[in-house]
Symmetry: C2
Subunit: 323 residues, 2 copies
């Protein structure tokens, strides 16, 4: 059985390298927090996209440039950090100039949008893959970690869930609907890092994560790190028209629950601050929807309006099984 | 013709992202220098090793773990920086646990030796490649950049040159000598980042670079960045017994001049500080050898003791041709 990223890094690397006073938070969260001796910590995150695994061969290069940066900025957003710098390690089968120009265009446009400077990199020849490290700043006490959720906290998500997953089903020919195709493709190819939402949630959210592997799986990381469980109200999950139609037709709630690649934020907030967070949510273009609450009992429960329980939150169970 | 790393990054990314006041030195040197508002700058560098390109299929995993970290620490050394943190993005065809354990052992041993903490990472499935980003600190005014060499400066290198290149010739069956095999293999598989030398050269060297692509090519980067040329004295190049025998037999000076993967430092020092740098060099285990001087006239000249000139510094010419 393949090991999850979390396991691999923890099992082999956790105690191999020395502890340092200037590492405030190391492996195991969206970002590491490093004391650079000013009032803010440097938040860094690194992610690789591999052809055939994270994107299809022949994917549009500008989309890939955008996405490689977006998934890393999304990790900064989930930490509540202000993005500052990125590095780029690009492995390419050949120096295809039109491809590179297009890749750089997608990458650069998103970088400019967030005031992010490319400060280093490496280009090598080999099977196509893209590694980006993003660096940002956040006051250490305000950073949105995974381990702060408490029983009674409310659970929220930004945007809508399952769009990227549905786009993949369409790409694979497993679901055919002529409507919403452009919207779905954009959601898969051009994820929007929720930097503004992350910053607005500093000092308000008790925990946060970005949804790259699916809501159930990523909320599961918060539950594991915080030592608690959660109950979600299925009908409260924020869905686009496309995914709503899909769920109505198929009854498949696992798509919005467990499909990855949406890069929305899942956060927890103390119940006493419900008014405050919902007022803030109304200022966000992407929206912020209440979907459930944190419980003392471990595990993830998904309730329908009629009181029945969805049998298994497949993504979450799969993750636990792999752990 | 394949583009060099330098070209790719510069051509497509240089002006795409915004300039920032907190970027003291961006793309184009061994490290980027970022102001973290303490008395030291954060120095960062990222490098990828790809199977079949930077290492042979079936390479010892512990050697690979060591080397992936060493080549990045070598960039910090060339900046005069104190190493602090690393991140690791590892792409693997499968989760082979003995392989991973061995990789982590090689990586971790070198990290401990230099007090470096692994603070983040990503593991993905795909063709084998390893990307490491290293982070260190250096007082900005003391950082060893590429652009500070001046006519009249003396040129020095640490260690010995051409050992890794000769190891490759042996591996490929192009040179067969039973002696020195263990030494040569170690030089290729386990490069030693010259962190101590880099730190001792702060405030003394006018320019520095680590030799990953060969002396002629990497000294060429200093010459280009500094707007000058150099004359090297071939017989002064520091050679191991193995490479000395090879050169005596074959007359092939291009091996120590142009073969890569040695990860020694090449530095320049004002003539007035010759005594100081040579006294410092005697304290280094790896040694520090004078090999020539910086000239006003552009280009790289390689002189023999008998006054004749080596026809072409192939590595350097190749690099210029590729640029």
């Amino acid at each position: 059985m393949p090991l999850s990223e979390f396991d691999l890094i923890h099992r082999y690397f956790r105690d191999l390298t020395p502890a340092r006073d200037d590492v405030l938070l190391g492996v195991g969260d969206d970002c590491a927090l490093l004391d650079t001796a000013k009032d803010k910590a440097l938040a860094i995150t690194i992610d690789t996209l591999v052809e055939g695994r994270h994107f299809a061969p022949g994917v549009d290069a500008a989309d890939l440039g955008h996405k490689a940066l977006a998934v890393n900025l999304s990790d900064l957003a989930a930490m509540g950090a202000d993005p500052a710098w990125v590095t780029l390690a690009l492995t390419l089968p050949r120096a295809d100039e039109p491809w590179l120009e297009s890749f750089a265009r997608g990458f650069g446009a998103l970088a400019r949008e967030h005031g992010v400077a490319l400060v280093g990199g490496d280009t090598t020849r080999g099977p196509l893959s893209v590694t980006v490290q993003a660096h940002g700043f956040v006051v250490p006490g305000q950073a949105l970690r995974r381990d702060g959720a408490r029983p009674g906290d409310l659970v929220y998500v930004t945007g809508t869930l399952g769009d990227a997953g549905l786009a993949l089903l369409v790409e694979q020919g497993l679901y055919t609907r002529p409507q919403h195709l452009g919207f779905l493709r954009r959601r898969l190819a051009r994820p929007v890092p929720r930097i503004g939402a992350g910053k607005a949630l500093r000092g308000l959210a008790t925990a946060a994560i970005d949804i790259s592997d699916g809501l159930a799986s990523d909320l599961g990381h918060i539950l594991d790190a915080s030592g608690c469980g959660a109950t979600l109200q299925l009908e409260q999950l924020p869905l686009s028209a496309a995914v709503r139609e899909y769920v109505e037709e198929t009854g498949d709630w696992n798509l919005p629950l467990s499909a990855g690649d949406d890069y929305e934020l899942c956060i927890t907030v103390p119940e006493a601050r419900q008014g405050e967070v919902e007022a803030m949510g109304e200022t966000l273009d992407c929206g912020l929807a209440w979907i459930g609450s944190i419980d003392r009992a471990p595990g993830l429960r998904c309730l329908r309006e009629d009181g029945t329980t969805l049998d298994a939150a497949a993504g979450y169970d799969h993750f636990r099984g792999a752990g």
